[in-house]
Amino acid sequence: MVIDNGRVSAGPLASLAGLAPLLVFSNSLSQGVALGVAFFLAYSAAGAMALLLPARLGRSLVFMFSILGAAVVSSLTASALRLFDPFLFEAAYDRVFLSVFTLPVLRACVIPATVSDRERAIERLLWGIGYSFLIAVTGAAREFLATGAVSTRFGTERGSLLPIFAQPAGAFMLIALAAAAFTVVIKAVRGSES
C-alpha cells in the first residue's frame, strides 16, 4: 500500500473499485456469503493456475488457461448454488459469473513476473480470503442497516430500517465511509510508528 500526499492510493483501497460489482450486489448475508465463496474459489483457481502452469507456455496462454480455470470453478459454484437454493441462483447467477472477470481475479490470472512474486502466493491467498470475507461482511452489514435484522435464508421475512443501504447508492456510501475510516486508521498507525 502507498500513502501518497496523505492519501491511500493503491493496494487494498484501489482493489475496492475492482470488487465493487460484487459489493454492490451483496445486500444480504445469504447473497454476500454466496458471492464471497464464488469470488474466493474463482480467485484461488486463477491464482493457482497462473502459478502452477509451465512458464514456457507464454504469458498469453497461461492467462487464457487461468481465466478458463476460474470460469470452470465459477460454473461449478453456480451449479452448487442452484442445488442449494434455486431462487438464490436466479437472483445471483449473473454476479457469480461476473466474479471471474473482476479486476482482482483477472490480475491473479497473470503469471507472476519475478521469483519474489511467485513466493508471495500465500500472501495473495490471504488477500483472497480477506476480499471474500469483506464481501460477506458487507452483505450482512447492509442487510442489518436496511432491515434491522440479519437472516441466514434468502427472501425470508424482514422489516425496514434504512432501505437505501440495500440499493447500489447505499453500497457506494458504505464503501466510501469504510475506506475513509481505513485511511484514518492506517495514517494513525503510521504516525504512531514514526
Binding site: R82, L83, E157, R158, G159
Partner: protein, 167 residues
Amino acid sequence: MDVSEKTRDTWILAGAMALIVAASGFASSYASGQAARQLAKMTSEALGPSPRGEATWTTMREGSVLGRVDRRGEPAAYLVVARYADGEFRAAASVDGDGSILELKPLGDSGDAYSKRLAALFSGAVRRGSRADASTLDASLKALVTDTFEALAILERGRTEADDGDR
C-alpha cells in the same frame, strides 16, 4: 524455447480443460434438473395439487416470469419472480388458455413494504372487480404488475397456439 514441447503442453492442457468443461456441463444439467423439480413442486403445491400428480417444468426467464409448470388436465401454472430495488416478490399464477389469470398465490412473504404492496396489486389485478386501496408506492410498481400480466398472457397464448398447431 522448444516449440514442439510447448505445442504438446498446450494440447494436453486443452484436452484436460475440455474434459473439465464437459464435467461442468453434467453438473450444470443435474443442478438444473433438481432445481426444476423443486420449483415445479413448489408452484403446483401453491395452486393445489394436480389430481394426476404429474408436473413438468420449463424455464423461461421472460421478464418476471421464471418458468411454467404443465400439469396434465389442469390450466398451466407460471412461477412469477418480480424483482425490485432490494428484494423480490414470488407468486404462482394459474393461467387460462386465452391468457387470463385464473388464480395468483403469493409464495412466502419477505415482509417489506414493496412486497406487501406488490401482493395487493397482483391480487387486485386478478380480482378485476374489486378496487384495491391506493399507496404512494403504486406509481413505481404498477408498470411491473402490468408487464408481468402482459408477459403471462403472451406466453400462454403462444403455448396454446403452438399446441393447436401441433394437433
